[in-house]
């Protein structure tokens, strides 16, 4: 990489400095100098379609575009003048040609860039009109597109392609009749991950959410609650936009979720799956119930819970364990603890050292054991950026082929189900082969895993040329029975190479729970399920269980996210009942009682909830005599027959996203390859039955021609609290598929 020096120049007679790669507009924004734009979006490459950002440069003929022009030494830029104002005004007049005057019923009204710029440039009438072609409103499922409102700024298509990676929409060029259209011309619906970012970035009302449409004027959503999304380990910052439910019902309701779309992107589960607040009927909240739950806990031997809870809740559960001598059972978090312990003994550090930012900057990325596209969409967006901006070489290792990743992934390696330990061993050999030798029968392992030596050679040779390398580890490896040996391999990779390891935890707060709780191996006796099934169930899932507690958008608390950052949840809508803290206060009954749950934040992180900001959990060095080396690999398991992979879908991550009324619960189909259909003797559209962990599934079967191998994707989010158990075990399960006669 050539080193580029800073460039000194002048904007409106003020001396400014551009760093390498910065455009005039970048510098102006950094220096708080205003240049109007309609199509500029921080997170994508300059689009250069709106032309409003024109500036004049002394000595240069004609106005130039500031968004895509890098300054040269000592130029003198003027961002405003009567002439530029006039040109911008003229551009606005053109934008207004035939733009429907339907602001009264437009969803964007009040937050519309076209309105704002018209006001800014004093355009008070439509000077020009032309014959309008027929433009049909397109309905793409959760997204609606109205081409007559579209100003063709291209923010949506650039975002879809550059920030997300779906590349599902593009611009159909045709002068005046240009419009946004589906890239797959044979399809009527959007073939995408339904992240809804196109809606978020649309400056006008052309792309809108069909759910939100006509539900509220934007300016009435005056309660904007910053919080984080609770659906996965990314912990994205979002805003819940809230107002009363209706004229007669004054209860608060979340109308939509928005995000800082200029700089970041969120996924569809976060954007559309927000309506899971627990608002039970008053009768369920009587004190009688309060005694009941306290008694249930006192009688119980075990509390079973999952990791989609706050650190504070986890801390209280730990306190209850200590007070009542209970067992705390959370299989998924226990697996993570075991994994991290083994990792620590071999790496000498408590935590893997990769962050999402490392993925974005990487030039080589390897993903193993994760359907990353749904396990953590933000990591996937970072992969997209790494490919687009650094042309990163991305290797995707998973038994399930991921068609939507084909335009960023260079190398797909479909390993045999169950052989993850061998896969990691081969990777370690390929990545560290020159530094460290493992006692590994490469021929045997390569044969059993179906990871070819040529493929490994490619990873090795790319690795030699790459400067920033990241290895992304998914929950398949943590749920795997050989997790500890896998962790040892990863530990030595972190220790003996410059490869950063990014661990993708299964649940939103797995890292927090693993840090806070002392977990037991197995439940016994009477059980209380905390958002899990048990003899007595305490649940925040709407209308489920014996005792109701607030959902994650109804409480304050913290998560530790994938980047090991402490993120804060806030109350978007109130809960008119009791919380775990109230129960604990009754049981603990000591002087440490806390009025509010978040008073425990200080016990956990040593800092008040309110003062907590961008706290980073630092990985600690561990005192070890020597780095524990991976153990020799014995026989690798084989999985024959029909397999399902218990997986999320793009919009449904868990029962909470699923019950959000806006999420389409009918998507619970079993999706498999043609080979799967042949092996299971079923065909597209058949009703099938199968069983996992005693849970019976009955699903419609659908063939996806892009899938390969005898594997089908089985969603589990519709199995209420049981779904946590199904998603925290090793996700590949051998099943017997029975066709249901209808």
């Amino acid at each position: 990489m050539k080193t580029k020096k800073d460039i000194k120049f002048f904007i409106n007679d003020r001396e400014v400095v551009a760093k390498a790669g910065e455009t005039i507009l970048n510098v102006a924004r950094r220096e708080n100098i205003y240049i109007p734009t309609m199509c500029y979006l921080e997170k994508v490459n300059p689009i250069a379609s709106c032309r409003l950002c024109l500036v004049d440069v002394e000595g240069s003929k004609g106005s130039i575009l500031s968004c895509q022009t890098k300054p040269t030494e000592n130029i003198r830029v003027k961002t405003d003048s009567a002439h530029l104002y006039k040109q911008r005004q003229n551009i606005m007049k053109l934008y207004d040609v035939n733009h429907p005057l339907e602001c009264g019923v437009c969803d964007k009204s009040g937050a519309c860039d076209l309105q704002n710029k018209n006001i800014e440039f004093g355009i008070d009438c439509q000077d020009f009109a032309v014959k309008e072609p027929h433009r049909k409103i397109e309905n793409w499922g959760k997204i609606q597109y109205d081409p007559s409102l579209c100003i063709l700024c291209e923010k949506c298509v650039s975002t879809c392609n550059q920030a997300i990676g779906d590349d599902a929409i593009e611009l159909k060029f045709g002068g005046y009749s240009s419009s946004v259209f589906l890239k797959n011309k044979n399809s009527k619906t959007l073939e995408c991950s339904t992240c809804g970012e196109c809606i978020a970035v649309c400056p006008v009302g052309a792309l809108i959410s069909t759910d939100f449409k006509y539900s509220s004027n934007i300016w009435e959503l005056n309660k904007i609650i910053p919080s984080i999304c609770s659906h996965c380990s990314a912990g994205c910052e979002i805003n819940y936009e809230v107002k009363h439910s209706s004229t007669l019902n004054h209860e608060s309701k979340i109308y939509r979720v928005t995000n800082d779309f200029e700089n970041s992107s969120i996924c569809g589960a976060g954007r559309f799956g927000f309506n899971f607040a627990n608002n039970p009927h008053e009768s369920n909240l009587k004190n009688k119930k309060f005694d009941e739950v306290v008694n249930a806990l006192k009688k119980a031997e075990t509390i079973i819970f999952n990791s989609q809870i706050t650190n504070e809740e986890a801390f209280i559960l730990q306190k209850l364990k200590e007070k009542l001598g209970l067992k705390l059972v959370n299989y998924e978090a226990l697996n993570l603890q075991k994994f991290l312990n083994a990792f620590g003994r071999s790496s000498g550090e408590t935590l893997p050292n990769g962050k999402i930012e490392d993925v974005e900057n990487a030039d080589q990325i390897i993903v193993v054991g994760s359907r990353i596209i749904v396990e953590n969409p933000i990591v996937r967006y970072a992969m997209t950026k790494a490919f687009k901006n650094n042309r990163a070489f991305i290797t995707y290792m998973h038994p399930v082929y991921e068609h939507l990743l084909h335009n960023v992934v260079r190398q797909f390696i479909r390993y045999e189900v169950g052989t993850e330990e061998g896969v990691i061993a081969l990777l370690a050999e390929a990545l560290l082969g020159q530094v460290l030798k493992f006692d590994l029968d490469v021929g045997y392992v390569s044969g059993e895993t179906n990871v070819g030596e040529e493929e490994l050679e490619k990873i090795f040779s790319i690795g030699k040329k790459s400067k920033k390398r990241v290895l992304i580890i998914g929950s398949d490896l943590i749920a795997h029975v050989k997790r500890e040996n896998i962790a040892r391999f990863l530990g030595v990779i972190q220790k003996f190479s410059n490869i950063r390891i990014l661990l993708v935890p299964e649940e939103s707060n797995s890292l927090g729970v693993a840090k806070i709780c002392q977990l037991d191996e197995k439940e016994s006796g009477n059980t209380v399920g905390y958002n899990m099934n048990g003899n007595y169930i305490i649940s925040s899932l709407k209308n489920i269980g014996n005792f109701y507690i607030p959902a994650l958008n109804q409480q304050e608390g913290t998560f530790i996210n994938i980047d090991q950052k402490v993120k804060k949840l806030n109350v978007a809508v109130p809960f008119n009942g009791l919380s775990l803290n109230d129960i604990a206060n009754k049981i603990l009954n000591d002087k440490n009682k806390k009025q509010n749950t978040i008073e425990y934040t200080k016990n956990i992180f040593g800092i008040d909830f309110d003062s907590l900001e961008n706290m980073q959990i630092e990985s600690q060095e561990i005192e070890i005599d020597c780095n524990e080396m991976p153990h020799e690999i014995s026989k690798l398991p084989t999985f024959d027959g029909t397999l399902v992979y218990n997986s999320r879908t793009f919009l449904e991550f868990n029962p909470f996203s699923a019950i959000s009324q806006n999420v389409n619960i009918n998507e619970t189909v079993l999706i498999g390859s043609e080979q799967f259909a042949t092996a299971g003797k079923i065909s597209d559209g058949d009703e099938v039955e199968f069983e996992i962990l005693g849970e019976k599934f009955r699903r419609k079967f659908k063939i996806d021609r892009n899938m390969r191998g005898v594997i089908a994707l089985n969603p589990v989010f519709d199995k209420s609290l049981k779904s946590y158990l199904l998603s925290s075990i090793y996700k590949f399960q051998k099943v017997k598929i029975v066709k249901v006669a209808i």
Partner: protein
């Protein structure tokens, strides 16, 4: 030269014959397309820099309306900025309003206002230049507009049938022999839409990998960006789309959906760039294509001539696979002779001869006898090297004896090689010789350094110097000196350039006493190549050029025998890949119509292409506005001399993502629209 016009305004030259009798009309110095085609003459021309009216009875209002409408019709490459998109539409609507007799005076004001905004703020040149001729028409023929507005009458040709043919081009596209839509593929890179980029290239150029690596890029010499700083690195941006397709194992991206088989059959002789290109577009058009190649491998000179380090064969094979993917029937090791040709005449609806120039011409020195050991034609020399390096074909025992090689491949360890040449082939010879381990490699060239750079590329020459090739300029071989038919020395003459006192071209004159001898093991003549025409049945009487290549009119590429076509080096003489591609693309278009209709014809776009080429699209004196000068051209990383000179690794890494985007952002999208009225 020059054109007789009634009125013209072009590139600052204004000719106004409006008050003159037609016999007194002053000519314009520009080559406007008056003779549109064999079927008729043009009446007017409208383009990005002005207008030319060839008669005094032109309906200028209709002309303006049509030009604005052509912009609408042809803007499928555009529609990507507010001023161009909406402004263009308003222009058309307002002109049409006036032309149909509904105009108001305020429309003229609006037209000027919108034009000004488009010219100042449009994204690409098409939006910036469309108003230029329109404003000239309004200004120079104002009374015609006013008349219609006042009288509320239709313009005189409004309901008449007048033909208007328009073409969108760009200086780079015009300069490219294959007329590749360069701004479109650059835009694809800029937008991270590599598939769209590749699709744009493949509209007229199937060899995207190849011409993204080894094209002499005449387009870059016609790049308008040169007027403010440096030309865009056009060639290197081309391979990005192709690399993307290959690296991600995507299905081949074709520019159009392949047509259903129409029952016609064409034989293509020769599997080099021209043959492959012809076969590809014919097959896309639904024609059954049989392609015959004499060598055991496809690719022609680019495969067996161009060395691996410059054009990795696996990348070229991707281009070849693309051609195969549309169902072309390939016959390797198929030498076609006169008898076969006679059979083909009956068997096929047309024949395309694309056999190249595969005979190395002589150096023209004394004692130049092919039987001398050490005298080795460049084409055969490179064949032997590349067939081994790329495909593993070993030297035969016969070849080893003939050329005195002690290994199964061309091993020149300890040997001295002299090559006579100055073009690409000779560069390949000397650089391959370095890689084959030669002790000393000498290039003998009659002219100077500047000329060799002009004939090849700057990069090529400098890379060769870096690798250790000795260039002896102003030199020529006088005599080969052998001992018992084994080459030992060369007698060299030295020349100097003498300027002509009469102002003519400088001449080369021999330097007296400048002669010297060099000891060599090999002399490789790489002066030029000629075509092997032994396949042409004599009774066909196919006309040849004075260069002994097959003669065509250079437009439809049909030989003097109907149904037999020729394209590429066999037609033009040794030239570039892109030239072969361009010719074969055109030939395939003509053949496709010929086999289906029996007629030899060009499309209007092809006719317009030729007219614009004559008129000249790139204007190197033009002052550019709207772009900041001083944006440096990106340079891609190359292997260092030590890393490359002993092996065949690809020298050029290609752009990094960052370099590619910043280079693509420099492109000014110089699309122009031009139109002829008939």
């Amino acid at each position: 030269m020059g054109t007789k016009v009634y009125f013209s305004s072009w590139r600052g030259e204004k000719i106004d014959n409006r008050d003159k009798l037609s016999e007194n009309w002053v000519e314009s110095t520009y080559n406007f397309p008056v003779q549109y085609s064999a079927s008729g003459n043009a009446t007017a021309f409208v383009g990005w820099e002005g207008i030319a009216l060839f008669r005094d009875d032109i309906d200028v209002v209709r002309l303006a309306t049509e030009y604005a409408s052509q912009y609408q019709k042809y803007s499928e490459a555009c529609g990507r900025c507010a001023p161009g998109r909406w402004g263009g539409r308003i222009l058309y609507d307002l002109f049409d309003k006036i032309a149909r007799g509904d105009g108001d005076f305020s429309d003229l004001t609006h037209l000027k206002e919108v034009s000004e905004t488009m010219m100042e703020t449009s994204k690409c040149e098409i939006g910036k230049t469309v108003p230029v001729p329109l404003l000239i028409l309004i200004k120079e023929f104002e009374e015609e507009f006013i008349k219609l507005i006042k009288n509320k009458t239709k313009s005189k040709d409004y309901d008449n049938n007048v033909n208007y043919n328009a073409l969108v081009t760009a200086p780079c596209t015009d300069a490219c022999p294959a007329h590749v839509d360069i701004p479109a593929y650059i835009e694809g890179v800029r937008d991270f839409r590599f598939d769209d980029s590749l699709k744009a290239t493949r509209q007229t150029m199937p060899l995207a990998h190849t011409c993204g690596r080894v094209c002499p890029h005449p387009c870059e010499t016609a790049c308008r960006r040169t007027n403010i700083d440096e030309p865009i690195s056009i060639m290197e941006l081309k391979r990005i789309g192709a690399d993307y397709e290959t690296d991600h194992n995507l299905d081949f991206i074709h520019p159009v959906i392949q047509k259903a088989k129409n029952g016609k059959k064409v034989a293509v002789i020769g599997g080099g760039p021209a043959g492959l290109t012809g076969a590809y577009y014919l097959a896309l058009d639904g024609i059954e294509v049989d392609l015959f190649e004499a060598l055991p491998v496809l690719g022609g000179e680019v495969a067996v001539g161009v060395p691996e380090y410059r054009m990795p064969i696996d990348k070229y094979n991707q281009d070849i696979e693309l051609v195969k993917s549309v169902g072309v029937n390939i016959y390797l090791n198929s030498w076609i002779d006169v008898n076969k040709m006679r059979e083909f005449e009956k068997k096929y609806d047309a024949i395309l001869v694309a056999t190249g120039t595969r005979i190395s011409k002589k150096v023209d020195c004394a004692n130049e006898r092919p039987e001398i050991q050490g005298y080795w034609g460049a084409i055969d020399f490179l064949d032997k090297i590349n067939l081994y390096e790329k495909y593993g074909y070993k030297l035969t025992q016969e070849d080893r004896i003939k050329h005195n090689i002690n290994n199964e491949y061309v091993d020149l360890t300890g040997k001295t090689i002299a090559c006579v040449g100055g073009g690409f082939t000779s560069m390949d010879v000397v650089r391959c010789s370095i890689r084959a381990g030669a002790k000393r490699v000498i290039m003998l060239y009659r002219r100077d350094e500047a000329t060799i750079i002009k004939n090849t590329t700057y990069e090529e020459y400098h890379e060769a110097v870096e690798e250790g090739v000795e260039f002896i300029f102003y030199s020529a071989v006088e005599k080969m000196i052998d001992e018992k038919d084994v080459l030992k020395h060369l007698h060299i003459n030295k020349f100097k350039m003498q300027s002509d006192s009469n102002g003519g071209r400088p001449k080369l004159v021999k330097v007296h006493g400048g002669d010297f001898m060099i000891d060599v093991d090999y002399l490789i003549p790489a002066v030029s190549q000629s075509a092997d025409l032994s396949l042409l049945p004599p009774e066909w009487n196919i006309e040849l050029t004075s260069w002994k290549t097959i003669k065509t009119n250079g437009r439809d590429y049909m030989t003097s025998k109907r149904g037999v076509f020729a394209a590429g080096d066999v037609e033009y003489g040794p030239m570039t890949i892109v030239n072969a591609v361009g010719q074969a693309k055109r030939a395939s278009s003509v053949i496709s119509r010929f086999v289906q209709t029996g007629e030899i014809s060009l499309t209007d776009n092809e006719i317009m292409e030729e007219h614009l080429r004559k008129l000249g699209v790139y204007n190197k004196k033009e002052k550019i506005s709207g772009w900041l000068a001083g944006q440096k051209r990106s340079e891609s990383e190359k292997l260092s001399v030590d890393e490359r000179k002993t092996n065949n690794r690809e020298v050029n890494f290609g752009f990094t993502a960052e370099e590619a985007i910043s280079e693509a952002e420099r492109c000014m999208r110089c699309y122009y629209i031009s139109m002829v009225a008939r």
